[in-house]
């Protein structure tokens, strides 16, 4: 076998330029796959991260009758005494933060401009609110007892031409179906670098939100952040709040889950197309090699090399080519991912709705993607050598010896 590999290696060295370009074709294909897989993983991972961090948390505890799409504020659709439930959940060791939140639909207007908004009542001091506090770009952050201030996302502030300290009128639905209106001060402007979220979400302190919507001591949800994603199922199954439902981030982000599944299906087809192109280059190289070495195949056959071994010789060449290609591909793919991540791919203004994605997509190169794509490329490349190898092994010795080369 070592001798076979030695022969195969030397055979590849005969036409170094052709061998290099064939390996490069395999390498570039693998690099494209690695970059694509990393971008998709980055996009989906980023979407889940953003959704969990900003909107859904890892787990939410809600009233069984709560309909998120309607942002219902009826008391029977809300969680009663949410602080008590949140405190119980927060006592679990896997939990980073558990805090009540209230969601309501509202309408923000200034003199000439207006915009529909999702009002979120939050506990400003909770660790779950860190992304908004840390994202403050101007003004001040909210305090729990602030009864006149609100936090505004940066794109919304730009759209409404508002700055910190400006007054703005908020119309908001209440528990009894009325609309309450009050003038607020823009206490601060934040960004989470997630355009879809920042352009539609404003924050009030929970107490103020409950007061204006007349939902005293009720919340839409108890928002739970865990110390690690992997705790989700175990914590969710441990929570048994009476009359309430427990939803995980997968339940709360069905579109992102669907998008992930769809992306995985499409990328599989993409992989096959790219690898088919690279395989055709390898097939072409090896077929040329078989034609150029027909007489040599005849000699090997004459000295008693069986067809199977001749086939193995060409497959060994293909395997070495594949190893070279995979090495090139890993380096190029890794480099391309690094290059991609210098600026990321800006998508904020693309109007993506339904799922939360950051303003820029960044690639995530995972070890499992790197290994699985390298193995896939290696296998496809070696398989592509099968036809030329069989062709060589079936050459008739007499015909082969008669060949010009």
């Amino acid at each position: 076998m070592i001798q076979l590999l030695k022969m195969a290696f030397r055979d590849l060295g005969r036409n170094r330029r052709r061998t290099f370009f064939s390996a490069l074709a395999v390498g570039v294909s693998l690099a494209i796959l690695i970059l694509m897989a990393s971008v998709i993983a980055g996009e989906i991972g980023g979407a889940f991260d953003a959704a969990i961090r900003l909107q859904s948390g890892h787990i939410q505890v809600r009233s069984a009758s709560y309909d998120e799409n309607k942002s219902s504020l009826k008391w029977e659709d809300l969680v009663q005494n949410p602080d008590q439930i949140a405190a119980q959940i927060a006592a679990l060791p896997q939990v980073k933060a558990a805090t009540p939140r209230l969601f309501a639909s509202g309408f923000l207007s200034t003199g000439n401009e207006s915009a529909g908004v999702r009002v979120t009542g939050i506990d400003p001091q909770s660790a779950a609110s860190d992304p908004y506090r840390q994202g403050l770009v101007s003004g001040d952050y909210l305090t729990a007892d602030d009864s006149t201030g609100l936090l505004l996302g940066q794109p919304l502030a730009l759209k409404l031409h508002l700055n910190a300290g400006d007054n703005v009128s908020l119309s908001i639905n209440t528990a009894n179906g009325d609309v309450a209106e009050q003038t607020f001060v823009v206490r601060g402007i934040y960004t989470t670098n997630t355009y879809g979220f920042d352009s539609a979400t404003i924050f009030l302190p929970l107490a103020k939100a409950q007061a204006i919507t007349q939902t005293q001591n009720h919340a839409s949800t108890v928002f739970v952040l865990l110390k690690d994603n992997s705790y989700t199922d175990s914590v969710a199954s441990a929570l048994k709040p009476g009359g309430l439902k427990v939803l995980t981030w997968k339940d709360l982000n069905p579109l992102t889950v669907q998008f992930e599944s769809l992306a995985n299906s499409y990328i599989g087809i993409f992989y096959l197309i790219v690898l088919a192109i690279s395989a055709s280059v390898v097939i072409n190289t090896l077929i040329m090699s078989v034609y150029e070495r027909t007489r040599e195949v005849g000699i090997l056959s004459a000295v008693g090399m069986r067809g199977g071994r001749i086939m193995m010789l060409f497959l060994a060449e293909c395997a070495l080519l594949a190893v070279g290609g995979v090495l090139i591909g890993v380096i190029l793919g890794w480099g391309a991912t690094l290059l991609f991540n210098i600026h990321g791919f800006y998508i904020a203004k693309m109007g993506i709705t339904g799922i939360l994605v950051g303003n820029s997509i960044f690639a995530r190169l995972t070890l499992s993607n790197l290994i699985s794509l390298s193995i896939l490329t290696f296998i496809i490349t070696v398989l592509s050598g099968l036809y030329p190898a069989i062709m060589a092994s079936r050459l008739q010795p007499v015909e082969a010896l008669r060949a010009e080369k």
Binding site: M7, E296, I299, A302, V303, G304, M305, R306, L401
Partner: protein, 231 residues
């Protein structure tokens, strides 16, 4: 004892609708230790006959025995095994593997036969010494003259200790001096090792080395006699 026995062998090539009879019914026996020349003009069937004996091709009809075995009924792999163990080849175009050194070329049949590294080394060095090319062991074919390449090909043919060595126009691409050297080495090895040599040629300078000359014309043996030489 006959190393080769051929009975009523024919070989017909079909190219499209055209049939060419390369052999028209050949009977031949070659004893162990012979140094025999197959002679005749181009197209007489010499090479075809060598290919049938060498299990590189199969007769259209008739039977070929090599080393006591009927090789006409062997499948592709069995014929490869037969060549590997019983038959050595020397071709007109030297036929060395260009990516392998002289040493590795001679070693190739031994590798295929599963010899140990020590056995291979000893045998290769013995043969390189026999063809007087030990100093060229590490050279690749393109670093050697035609005569040297052909001597390496002789060493390779002898490596597995075959019963029979077939040489097709072994001096056709060599100058007179190299051709003479090659023939003298073949003759010497035939005498020293007792291996049977059968070579196809139409070069009178080569024919004179043969102890038996078989003449073919139009696919038939027309003469089969000694060459005035003693074994």
């Amino acid at each position: 004892m006959e190393v080769v026995k051929i009975e009523k062998a024919t070989r017909v090539y079909k190219i499209g609708a055209v049939e060419t009879q390369a052999l028209r019914g050949v009977d031949l026996g070659i004893d162990a230790g012979e140094f025999t020349a197959l002679v005749g003009p181009s197209g007489s069937g010499k090479t075809t006959l060598l290919q049938l004996i060498g299990c590189l091709d199969q007769p259209t009809s008739g039977t070929v025995w090599v080393d006591g075995k009927d090789v006409t009924r062997l499948n592709r792999n069995q014929r490869a095994d037969m060549r590997r163990g019983h038959i050595g080849f020397i071709f007109q175009f030297f036929a060395l593997i260009p990516t392998l050194s002289a040493y590795e070329n001679v070693e190739m049949p031994l590798l295929l036969n599963g010899h140990t590294p020590k056995e291979r080394h000893d045998r290769v060095m013995e043969l390189l010494s026999a063809v007087d090319l030990v100093e060229r062991a590490k050279n690749r074919p393109d670093q050697m003259s035609g005569g040297q390449q052909q001597r390496i090909a002789i060493a390779r043919a002898l490596a597995p200790k075959p019963a029979l060595i077939l040489a097709d126009e072994p001096t056709a691409n060599l100058d007179t001096e190299n051709g003479r050297q090659v023939m003298e080495i073949m003759e010497k090895l035939n005498k020293e090792t007792g291996v049977t040599f059968v070579f196809a040629t139409h070069d009178p300078r080569v024919i004179k080395y043969a102890r038996r000359v078989v003449t073919l014309r139009d696919g038939l043996i027309v003469e089969n006699n000694g060459n005035g030489k003693k074994s």
